[in-house]
């Protein structure tokens, strides 16, 4: 029973057989790494090493190394935190939400997108941890552990504590979801391998044998995890937005923040998935699996979420005016026309105007244009967080304490460190783990390929 549609494009092109899927994905793991991979990996590791100088300096001297001052207590660190968490939203959205909506095109991109999620969340979590100043004591401040104060517990009324729970739950559940999906593919590599590799992938595959009963349970687990991860992914950025929304700072305490942050997170996450996927499909020759159809669909998600973000920016401005609260009105006028006008207008251009170019089919089906716009979106989303955080703080209630924020080399260096970490982890993943979920691609292959359907 072959299902072919004259309307929908096939999910996998090139008339692949089941064995071709196994071969095309596994050979990346089995072969010697290419020169391109080595250069990319060494660059990432180099950035990591350079950035670690700034990280060590920050840990050694304290966060006085950063450009923070008495007016602006949150700047690059929290900007970077929110930016990375936002990027970390696409993976679980693709694997969980699209699974519930039965969007089968997710099968060839979910593995790498989830890996990206996990690495982005690791990078994100670093910032609040470093910002504690003495992170080795951080467990007492962040977790409800008994302590010598008999016990003075953590504050469950604080959104910062909710964040601790949200981010750590998100990280660990995403990790488990990702690993469950990897088990059958590790078994595939195990069964093709000999010697040491067989032992290693054998251990990683947890003794998977492909029995129908195990597959039945696997499917059940995937569905329930997707059902749990869907509200989870929405809750995480909602809670991140509470860090701002529950405060009394003009420009922060807006009720629109949760949905606006979630849309922004999906927006930037999909942009990062596109950046990485366009490189991965090229380097690993996976154009038949990550097709133009995938790129176009992700670009459509970018138009939708980009437009939601655009509407949110305008709504914020309107509500500030309509509220009649002078401080609120000033915060927004200052954003657009104050000393940080360039950050505001970079954000508006990158996030609101540039994604609208994807309405043109020529642009959203062009690899070069998509790649460039995906970078533009992530630059814009970084500026969004910077604008929200720094411009709301730098001119507070007392004009005598108005200040500007200037990043120091340590601010830049720690941000670089997370870039190095993210790409080092991603390149290691791309080399040693199957970058495409072979088992799931095989399960949708029959409707996509003549040879498999014969």
């Amino acid at each position: 029973m072959q299902v072919t549609s004259s309307v929908r494009q096939p999910l996998v092109t090139g008339g692949k057989t089941y064995h071709d899927v196994t071969h095309d994905v596994s050979r990346q793991v089995e072969g010697k790494p290419s020169l391109a991979w080595f250069l990319a990996f060494l660059t990432a590791a180099g950035v990591l090493a350079l950035g670690s100088i700034a990280l060590i300096a920050t840990l050694w001297e304290g966060i006085g190394m950063w450009g923070l001052n008495k007016t602006i207590g949150w700047a690059w660190d929290i900007t970077n935190f929110v930016w990375w968490v936002g990027i970390g939203h696409a993976g679980t959205l693709i694997s969980a939400v699209l699974l519930l909506f039965r969007q089968k095109w997710r099968t060839s991109i979910n593995r790498a997108a989830e890996a990206m999620t996990i690495f982005a969340v690791i990078c994100a979590a670093m910032f609040p941890v470093i910002h504690m100043g003495r992170p080795w004591l951080g467990a007492y401040w962040a977790l409800p552990l008994p302590n010598t104060f008999g016990s003075l517990w953590v504050n469950f009324n604080s959104p910062l504590l909710w964040d601790v729970f949200a981010i750590s739950t998100y990280f660990s559940v995403s990790l488990v979801f990702w690993y469950i999906g990897l088990i059958p593919d590790f078994a595939t590599i195990r069964d093709r391998a000999t010697g040491l590799r067989k032992t290693i992938y054998g251990a990683l595959s947890f003794g998977w044998d492909g029995a129908a009963k195990t597959w039945m349970r696997y499917e059940s687990v995937s569905l329930i995890l997707a059902g749990l991860a869907t509200p989870l992914v929405l809750s995480v950025h909602t809670i991140v937005s509470f860090d701002f929304a529950t405060s009394v700072i003009p420009g922060w305490h807006t009720t629109i923040f949760p949905p606006y942050f979630v849309a922004g997170a999906i927006f930037s996450g999909f942009a990062m998935v596109l950046t990485l996927m366009i490189i991965t499909r090229k380097v690993f020759k996976l154009e038949d699996y990550i097709t133009m159809g995938h790129i176009e669909l992700m670009n459509i998600v970018i138009i939708i979420t980009g437009s939601i973000v655009g509407i949110a920016y305008i709504t914020e401005f309107f509500i500030a005016w309509y509220s009649g609260v002078e401080a609120e009105q000033y915060a927004f006028i200052n954003r657009a026309t104050g000393p940080y006008w360039w950050a505001y207008w970079s954000m508006m251009t990158c996030n609101v105007i540039s994604p609208q170019l994807f309405w043109f089919k020529k642009i959203r089906t062009s690899i070069v244009a998509t790649f460039l716009l995906s970078l533009v979106v992530n630059i814009g989303m970084w500026f969004e967080r910077f604008v929200i955080i720094v411009t709301s703080l730098h001119r507070d209630y007392l004009p005598s304490s108005w200040a500007m924020f200037y990043p120091t080399w340590a601010d830049v260096g720690v941000y670089m460190f997370t870039f190095g970490l993210f790409f080092t982890l991603f390149f290691l993943f791309a080399k040693f783990f199957p970058v495409i979920n072979m088992a799931e691609v095989k399960s949708v292959l029959k409707s996509s390929s003549e040879k498999a359907a014969k």
Partner: protein, 176 residues
């Protein structure tokens, strides 16, 4: 003959042929040991007559445990053990406890269910699986029939049934 050691394997190429084959083989009275596939075949569990997995129940129970633990912890710490006035709120500020309770629910439901899945399917790093055919994780579906479990039937007859149900190969496999 010992149970669980000598098998006849029917190798199938196509999932739809496999689904029909399972029905056909079962209707002849042959007891199927298990079917192994490279990817989840929808409907296979129905034709094999497996009961629905009870993992969702495990997930629900673990989730409930998470909610109760989180609420108990927060009320104990904030209301009873060390009450403090924070923002003029009630000590037991229930709405503020919702986010952490939600996250703990998800955390325990996910980990609990996955834990049960690992245990019930015997998935662990040191597990040594019995590999009936290395192509199972590549592109072939394999129906395994335990000879000892079908002692009322001739081996040749079972092989015949498998062949006629669409198996492209019929092999023997024995484990130590």
């Amino acid at each position: 003959m010992e149970r669980d050691t000598h098998f006849i394997l029917g190798v199938y190429e196509d999932e739809d042929v496999l689904l029909h084959a399972v029905k056909e083989v079962r209707s002849t009275g042959v007891k199927i040991h298990e079917v192994y596939s490279p990817y989840p075949v929808h409907g296979l569990e129905h034709v094999l007559g497996y009961k629905r997995s009870r993992l969702p129940i495990a997930a629900f129970l673990f989730g409930m445990l998470g909610t109760s633990l989180a609420l108990t912890m927060q009320f104990y710490m904030m209301k009873f053990d060390w009450p403090m006035i924070i923002g003029g709120k009630d000590f037991a500020a229930f709405p503020d406890f919702i986010p952490v309770s939600f996250e703990m629910t998800v955390l325990l439901a996910a980990f609990g269910m996955v834990g049960v899945f690992m245990v019930s399917s015997n998935l662990k790093p040191w597990a040594q699986p019995r590999i009936f055919d290395v192509r199972i994780t590549d592109d072939k579906h394999v129906m395994a029939i335990d000879i000892a479990n079908n002692s009322s039937m001739e081996v040749e007859k079972i092989k015949e049934i498998l062949k006629s149900s669409g198996a492209t190969e019929v092999n023997n496999k024995s484990f130590e």
